[in-house]
Amino acid sequence: MILPVKISGLSAGYRPGHPVLKDIDLEIMPGDFLALIGPNGGGKTTLLKVILGLIRPMSGTVRVFGRSPGDETGRIGYVPQMIPGATFPVTVMEVALMGRLGLRGMWRRYTPADRLAAIHNLHLLGVADLAAEPMDNLSGGQRQRVLIARALAGEPDLLLLDEPAASVDQKTQESFFNLLALLNKKLTIVLVTHDVGAVSSYVRTIACINRVLVSHGETLPAEAVARAYGCPFELVTHGVPHRVIGSAEGSGDSGGEP
């Protein structure tokens, strides 16, 4: 079976000799809705960038839909962690259209089909009425929704979202997670978040990442281990399969608390 993501023995980071991620094994099944949790600096964003092909692995193998990261162009939708305060003269519609880049080659203009896809997804996210507005005039939450519409406009099979709910209010958050659950019927989703309580009733699996993988799947929810690595295990509702990706430093069983 070709998995959306298959990672084995991965080490990756920004400086040679200083891997941020170590010995990661992770398989993401088709149709999964995976919440990727973990402390700040644990390497969640880094892992997404490896999957996207933005960072080359130092060692290990990464396969995205059976191919090298970056080669599967068009199949991944990405919603980056928000850059606050960035200003640029571009309209909401133009941003949503960027999601279609992979489907149109160089020297080609966007087609009516591209526009349709862009506006459809803006509508889905409830920001279609802002299509002609400059991005700069939008609130943080509105901007975030445009970026999600942009990712969806590319008709991805795998959607990676990096803390998308960070600047969204409670009520919007709920409808947003409901939307993701709906989308999940058609595509695989990886959601980076540090609010596992808010997502636990929507997601299918949870992985905690703090530099390395410690335990995996439903078989080993070693709470003490997880705590030792800064993963908020008590927040995880029962019945959700967990994967714990823990710290490279320190030994797993020093956590103590039951």
Binding site: Y14, L52, G53, L54, T73, G74, I76, Y78, P80, F88, P89, V90, T91, E94, V95, L97, M98, G99, L101, G102, R104, M106, W107, R109, Y110, E133, P134, R150, G154
Partner: protein
């Protein structure tokens, strides 16, 4: 006033203004939204090193200027991207200073006075040649062709280069096209109107246009119109007041810039 248009040099100046305005509006817009206004100064000053080198080796000055300006623009791009992550403005300052100093040394090594070089620094719209106009026209064509054809890529890479890369855009190539075009336009403008005009016309019309437009396409069109209005207005005013046109045009541009900021608030 009108009779001035019957002079060949005035006709040339008007055509030169039109041709410069197109390049300024289109490339200046990309420079401004990429927050690389300083690049204009860096490339223009560093290319002085190329002029000096050409002077020393007896090459055509244009060749030296193109070589070094391209090297500067692409060099700044390379140093401030990828894993090196140097601040772009630091890289620009380094190229800026090094290029200027090299130019001074080259001129000194060759010995003597270099009047040609002065015209590059303080060039004048009133002395543009036919060849300059042909070159400027060709460059405009190239700019319109490349920016028109790669518009969605140039916009996307300027706005969110990482996302563009993920969507399969060859971001390094697109960025290099942008930087190389910028270098060429700067050399062309220097030849036509001198160094200081380059900095003013590449940045001010685009900066003002940004305040009043919400998309890149309109920003390019508006800044081209503004650049043209400033150039022609400056030329006319300079003729009437008997002042150097370059300086008058820049003063007008500066006034427009500050007034726009006041109006906008």
């Amino acid at each position: 006033m009108i009779e001035a248009l019957s002079y060949a040099w005035m006709q040339n100046a008007v055509v030169a203004s039109i041709l410069s305005a197109i390049a300024c509006g289109v490339i200046g817009t990309l420079v401004v939204v990429n927050r690389m206004s300083t690049l204009t100064g860096a490339v223009a000053h560093a290319s002085f090193g190329g002029l000096g080198l050409a002077y020393l080796l007896g090459m055509p000055p244009m060749a030296g200027a193109v070589l070094v300006s391209m090297g500067t623009a692409l060099g700044v791009g390379a140093i401030s991207s990828g894993t090196r992550r140097e601040y772009p403005d630091t890289a620009m300052a380094a190229f800026w200073a090094t290029g200027m100093a090299a130019g001074l040394i080259f001129v000194r090594l060759r010995g003597g006075y270099a009047p040609d070089l002065m015209s590059w620094l303080f060039g004048s719209l009133l002395t543009v040649s036919r060849t300059d106009l042909v070159l400027a026209g060709s460059l405009d064509l190239l700019v319109l062709l490349l920016v028109g054809g790669l518009f969605k890529e140039l916009t996307a890479v300027s706005y969110d280069s990482e996302f563009s890369r993920i969507r399969g855009v060859r971001t390094a190539l697109i960025r290099s096209v942008f930087l190389a075009l910028t270098a060429l336009v700067i050399v062309m403008l220097m030849k036509i109107s001198g160094l200081i005009m380059v900095m003013a016309l590449m940045t001010i019309p685009a900066a003002v246009a940004r305040m009043f437009t919400k998309g890149l396409r309109r920003m390019m069109i508006l800044s081209s119109i503004l650049a043209l209005a400033l150039s022609l207005g400056g030329l006319a005013l300079a003729y009437v007041l008997d002042l150097p046109p370059g300086a008058v045009i820049i003063l007008l541009a500066g006034a427009l810039y500050f007034i726009s900021h006041i109006v906008k608030n």
